[in-house]
């Protein structure tokens, strides 16, 4: 009987994986078709567009570098959505975790700027992650203890976080020398992160990839991750099994927030050298899109972040060459998001992918 069952539908796990790859692919193609129609209304050629996106995002070593540079923080902000997402939570306040993480990292670095860069970086990483973990943790705590809707809570807290950020950057922590763009004092050129040897990218990319891999291992290979998936799949079953649901929610929100906070810290240490409005560039919001594209699978975040990073990188070229407004890319992003959400209805619709279909 044992072997009989194993033999009945051996290929089902493979077909299930195929379904998980094909559904978002179909969604992306659908979004491309819709966007082409949109372009035709603007008298622009979809083929030119595709060509420019390719050249602007992946076509040269410069554009490729630009793409992965943009993808680096997105990897981490997508984890801020995907890890709580594994527990069935929809956290959309990663933007605040990024800016507050960047701010906290800067504040932690300032007293240490004359010690060694290693100390500064360590302090920035710890402070940034801790701040992000705390900020998203608030939403998790409200959900776990008071059953406040985590989506609304994280969104509202994102506004609060941005206001706090502006308050400090434009007030208490402002470097009087920063006139047009209020900023904190800088961490100093000596303390800036360099690029990774052989690749001309800052360490945000490897850190983000390592974080995605670690999160994947946590979710799919450990007991804690299994408990998270049980909680996300059916919270009543998790309670019945005595799983510590409250702790798991707090943990997932803290890990996610920590990732987003780290993204802010790395952006400061590698690109801006100080906390200012550059941090508030929509990394958190693009991260939501990527996490949904990846269906909350941390490994799938990597290609999706590079795709979205590429679209962002190509934006400037499109603007110059096709005379399209910068917001065109946002239209495309919006269409992708809607298509991905709609593609959820594709799952289970085709008999071939279902268990037992080929026997």
């Amino acid at each position: 009987m044992n072997t009989l069952i194993a033999a009945t539908d051996r290929w089902y796990p493979l077909r299930r994986s195929a379904e998980a790859v094909l559904a978002p692919l179909v969604a992306l193609i659908g979004a491309a078709v819709l966007f082409s129609i949109f372009l035709l209304f603007l008298d622009a050629s979809p083929l030119d567009f595709l060509d420019l996106v390719w050249r602007g995002a992946f076509g040269s070593s410069f554009s490729l570098q630009n793409t992965v540079q943009r993808a680096a923080p997105l990897l981490l902000t997508a984890l801020c959505v995907a890890i709580p997402g594994q527990l069935g939570l929809v956290i959309i306040g990663g933007e605040a975790a990024v800016v507050l993480g960047g701010l906290a990292a800067t504040v932690a670095a300032l007293p240490l700027i004359n010690t060694s860069p290693i100390v500064v970086w360590a302090a920035m990483a710890v402070a940034g992650s801790a701040m992000g973990a705390f900020w998203i943790g608030i939403s998790g705590w409200l959900k776990a203890k008071l059953n406040v809707n985590e989506t609304i809570a994280s969104l509202v807290l994102a506004y609060v976080g941005l206001a706090l950020f502006n308050h400090f950057v434009e007030g208490l922590l402002r470097d009087p020398a920063s006139l047009n763009k209020p900023s904190t004092y800088g961490i100093g050129d000596d303390n800036m992160l360099g690029t990774v040897p052989w690749f001309d990218v800052h360490p945000g990319l490897p850190v983000g990839i390592v974080a995605c891999v670690l999160c994947w291992v946590l979710i799919y290979r450990t007991s804690v991750g299994f408990a998270c998936r049980v909680t996300g799949g059916n919270i009543r079953a998790a309670q019945l099994q005595g799983l510590p649901v409250t702790k798991l929610i707090l943990l997932a929100c803290a890990i996610g927030g920590g990732c987003a906070g780290l993204a802010g810290a790395i952006q400061v240490a590698a690109e801006y050298g100080r906390a200012n409005a550059s941090l508030n560039a929509g990394f958190g919001y693009t991260g939501i899109l990527i996490a949904f594209l990846a269906r909350f699978n941390p490994l799938a975040i990597i290609p999706m972040a590079i795709l979205l990073g590429g679209l962002g990188a190509a934006g400037g070229l499109l603007q110059r060459r096709m005379g399209l407004p910068d917001a065109t890319i946002q239209v495309l992003q919006g269409l992708i998001f809607v298509s991905i959400l709609a593609s959820d209805t594709l799952y289970g619709r085709f008999r071939w992918f279902q268990p037992g279909a080929t026997t």
């Binding site: 194993a6 299930r16 049980v230």
Partner: protein, 504 residues
């Protein structure tokens, strides 16, 4: 008063993909009769009725309503022909009054409702009815039996001439069931309505039904007048064997020490429903304690407290004389297992695989119950495979999401998981809900086997027959409190029914 109509279904066929739900099924219902539609779960009873009411389109066959061939393509067509249905789960709005529910159900509700004329009309209508329900009562406050009556009144108010009742007594006490079925039969025999009752309770068929049609696996298994058929004939038609599976054997006697002791337990009120108030409840080893009660009298809340899904305000829950809060550590230390009702909704993770679901109790423990950080995926798969084999779980693949399995196989998965290894205390809620006769017998045998091997079992069930069959001791809950306790041997169902209703 309208007049009952006859309905005939001829050679109905219906398939979903490659699955044939109905093949060449015919049903003839005489006007003014009570017709029983019998069969196990999955026999095709509800598919047939849904075709008749226009929710499904039959692939083959035709319907004759009141002597004329009828095309029923949509529910509205059935409505126009005067065909209606009372569902197993009530469709009244609990927060509205009976009168509001009745007016709302009408097809042509005016934009502005003149309540005075409506109430006058309803009062006159109610006077013509053979039984009454209070028009101003809020439905949520009515007892289950009263709600069922209101559902039937609603169908009469909508001028239905033919009515299908889907398992109408499943939520009623024995007294309520007898009264309700008597009223329904009276209505039919007075010529006001034709009734089809979907049921699997043979006692009710014998007492209240004129004719029966039995379905088995989507085919006609037999039909005829009840007075010509004995219970053996009906059982044979339903399950294909002349005798229902035997009751499981009871071995060993309860010990003296309480393994589960609930004392002075109170929970907070919940959405207008009274919180639990249980002064004392004990379960001993080698004992099944059955909790009887009408649905919604605190049984669900009790299971939730014992399963850790609901906090309690005061009192104590002790397992093996130690305070018990249903944490994972405690449930593993004391080997407490829970078989929740609606296992897919309460005890499984539908998107996760069968193997994952079979390992929910043990994924985080290694040898000697030590905590493990890394998942032992090979071990989980092996354990899952052996449970699948031991419990005969039919699944297309061990890696299939558990949500695609049939109800009986989901129940087998949960049984396999919760009865795996040593079980000292087992809490079971409505374990046989929605299972076919064989799966019911198998489930009950496993529960009895657990008891015989020394497990303390708390069985919460809305099916009094199940409690009478399995329990050593019966506890009755009413209004979120334990109101009566008695040994099961020689217990009188009528007396239990009185306690279930809160009469002493």
């Amino acid at each position: 008063m309208t007049h009952a109509i006859g309905v005939e279904a001829i050679g109905i066929g219906k398939h979903f993909g490659s699955f044939h739900a109905l093949s060449d099924v015919s049903l003839k219902v005489r006007p003014g009769s009570v017709h029983g539609l019998l069969g196990e779960n999955g026999a095709g009873k509800s598919t047939l009725v849904k075709c008749l009411l226009g929710y499904y389109q039959a692939d083959a066959g035709s319907f004759v309503v009141d002597g004329r061939e009828a095309t029923i393509a949509r529910p509205a067509d059935a409505d126009a022909l005067g065909l209606g249905m009372v569902y197993q789960h009530f469709t009244l709005v609990p927060s509205m009054t009976v009168a509001e529910n009745l007016v709302m159900s009408r097809r042509n509700v005016p934009g502005v409702i003149n309540w005075r004329t409506e109430i006058d009309g309803l009062t006159q209508f109610m006077q013509r009815m053979p039984f009454k329900v209070p028009l101003n009562a809020v439905v949520g406050n009515l007892a289950a039996g009263e709600r069922q009556k209101t559902e039937i009144i609603k169908q009469l108010y909508l001028e239905r001439k033919f009515l299908v009742l889907d398992e109408p007594t499943s939520v009623l006490t024995p007294q309520e069931a007898t009264e309700m079925l008597g009223l329904v039969r009276g209505l039919a025999h007075s010529g006001a309505l034709t009734i089809v009752i979907i049921t699997h309770k043979l006692k009710e068929v014998a007492a209240f039904v004129d004719d029966v049609t039995v379905l088995r696996r989507g085919r006609m298994a037999g039909t005829g007048a009840v007075k010509d058929l004995g219970p053996t004939d009906l059982t044979a038609m339903m399950i294909g064997e002349p005798h229902a599976p035997k009751d499981p054997e009871r071995k060993g006697t309860p010990t003296s020490e309480a393994r589960l002791a609930v004392t002075a337990l109170r929970t907070a009120d919940d959405g207008g429903r009274k919180g639990l108030s249980i002064d004392s409840l004990t379960v001993r080893a080698h004992e099944i304690v059955g909790i009887a009660g009408v649905s919604g009298n605190g049984q669900k809340e009790l299971v939730e407290v014992l399963g850790g899904q609901r906090p309690y305000a005061s009192g104590s829950v002790m397992v093996d004389n130690e305070p018990y809060f249903a944490t994972r550590e405690q449930s593993q230390a004391h080997d407490v297992r829970v078989l929740p009702e609606e296992p897919l909704r309460n005890g499984c993770v539908p998107p996760m695989t069968v193997v994952d679901n079979l390992n929910l109790r043990s994924f985080d423990t290694g040898a000697k119950k030590s905590w493990r950080w890394w998942l032992d995926r090979a071990g989980m798969a092996a354990r899952g495979q052996s449970m699948i084999a031991a419990y005969g779980i039919r699944t297309p693949s061990p890696q299939a999401p558990i949500g695609v399995l049939s109800g009986g196989n989901v129940q087998r998965c949960v049984l396999a998981r919760e009865l795996d290894g040593d079980v000292r205390l087992l809490i079971v809620a409505n374990p046989c809900f929605g299972l076919d006769v064989k799966a019911v017998a198998e489930t009950r045998a496993r529960i009895m086997a657990a008891r015989n091997s020394g497990t303390a079992v708390l069985l919460i069930s809305e099916d009094l027959d199940e409690i009478l069959e399995l329990a050593d001791r019966i506890v009755v809950m009413h209004d979120s409190a334990v109101v009566h306790e008695m040994p099961a041997a020689g217990a009188d169902p009528q007396e239990i029914g009185r306690h279930m209703l809160g009469h002493h």
